[in-house]
Symmetry: C2
Subunit: 304 residues, 2 copies
Amino acid sequence: MKEYVSVREVGLRDGLQLVKSILDTDIKIQWCELQAACGFREMEVTSFVPPKVIPQFADAAEVLNSASKIPGLRAAVLVPNLKWGLRALDEGAQKITFVLSISEAHNQANVRRSTDQSISEFSGLVQERNQRGLGKSVSLSVAMATTFGCSLQGKVDETRVYDVANQLLASGADELNLADTVGYGNPTQVKRITAEVINMANEISVACHFHDTRGMGIANVVAALDSGIRRFDASLGGLGGCPFAKGASGNIATEDCVYLLENMGFETGIDLVAMLDVRRMLKSWLADESLEGKLLKAGPAKTF
Amino acid sequence: MKEYVSVREVGLRDGLQLVKSILDTDIKIQWCELQAACGFREMEVTSFVPPKVIPQFADAAEVLNSASKIPGLRAAVLVPNLKWGLRALDEGAQKITFVLSISEAHNQANVRRSTDQSISEFSGLVQERNQRGLGKSVSLSVAMATTFGCSLQGKVDETRVYDVANQLLASGADELNLADTVGYGNPTQVKRITAEVINMANEISVACHFHDTRGMGIANVVAALDSGIRRFDASLGGLGGCPFAKGASGNIATEDCVYLLENMGFETGIDLVAMLDVRRMLKSWLADESLEGKLLKAGPAKTF
């Protein structure tokens, strides 16, 4: 009996937010349908953010509503603050990822408020969900950006990571998502921090979100697996990056992550061959974008 | 006090063997000099093979002789059989890597003889070195290709890996180099096999040689570190591949490997910034080749 590891596709959110070409809404929904058909149980399908800031997500409500109807798929959205979190609640999101940064400099650049203010707004979002009687039918996760370092501020104090995690757990977070936003994490550090946060979180789910900016993304997945992490974000074709990290390549490639996990003896529930077909379609949708990921070029091993 | 990990540059051998353009001899020697100046203590600088088979290495003796004169650098060469091993001895090689494959199919394709015949020829090379009174001044290593799987034969029996390792150790090998020639290895398997071979090898050095064909190369380095491996091959810009593995990308990129190790708290003795300058020169020397590696694009972290 293989152990299940969840791979959550975030290409539609973290990937598309840095892509110049605006993808048609029907293509976005087709993308969700295709990956759900491959066995993905959760996808972050859009961001609820001001359309003036990221025009790519002007169709957020429509994408969320359509994706929420796909059988077997949990459609998650990312929000930058309480105001947009409430909008996501209004639109019936099943899961909301509230993003904040451990680094003050990054939080200010990304969401224009202090990290403490973000923590307080997340707490407000939990209360609002509960007051609406939605309870656990809406899962509230927190993306803890720059947990492993920050390209603006440099070093991020680990004690601050644990302090923020504690506050978020006390606020009622359903999940903590430790994010290496700018690809600063290394396996030694990842193993140490994930082990500590898992220990703090008890029954609360802890996920990881790695970028492959400096080639350590897949190795960081293995380090996090060693600590007991069983939920990973990834982006098809390694799409994505960070607006505050120049030259940064994107998330770990979903196809390489799934291939790693299956080879290590975990069960992802994902049809790899079908996923590689979606990866080829992604290239046709975003012909001008440079995509990453090794597996498509080489193909799965003969023994796979 | 940081622990030292050796990163051995193999781009001039494993990288260049698949490159269409023949690099000028003086450029090859300049490459050796530049990387030695960055702190590399060992490089595999060429192959002693029939020039008709790989014209790139027609200048093998000249490259070896020049590279051997570079202060602080051990210049190693690869040989496919006893005949060319004797040529390397004649030319004064300080280290010879004798390549054989655990997979019979790969050994036949690569060196046109059985694996048992290759083992026997390696034993002959050790005897010849000893009869010439060269002793340990010439180090004899064996590259155990396809240790983690084979793109021709598929699965490779682990008991055969251990059986071959035992025979090579009994023959007097100074080093075993476990090679994932076609990028089939995964971290779970790498950790298991490296631990077992280190246990068998006692005081004899065990190195690893990973390709990043399916995105697991750097993760495999971390798995091997966990077992106690402290010697890795890598290729600048991820140059390389395998003639029998279609679409295969090359070795792990030296720059990404060194960056990983330094970030994990190991000492490589390598000046990363100087190495990235050599990486840029490599691109100018091989303008038509597609190079890999994440670090050059993103640059080292602010905290590095």
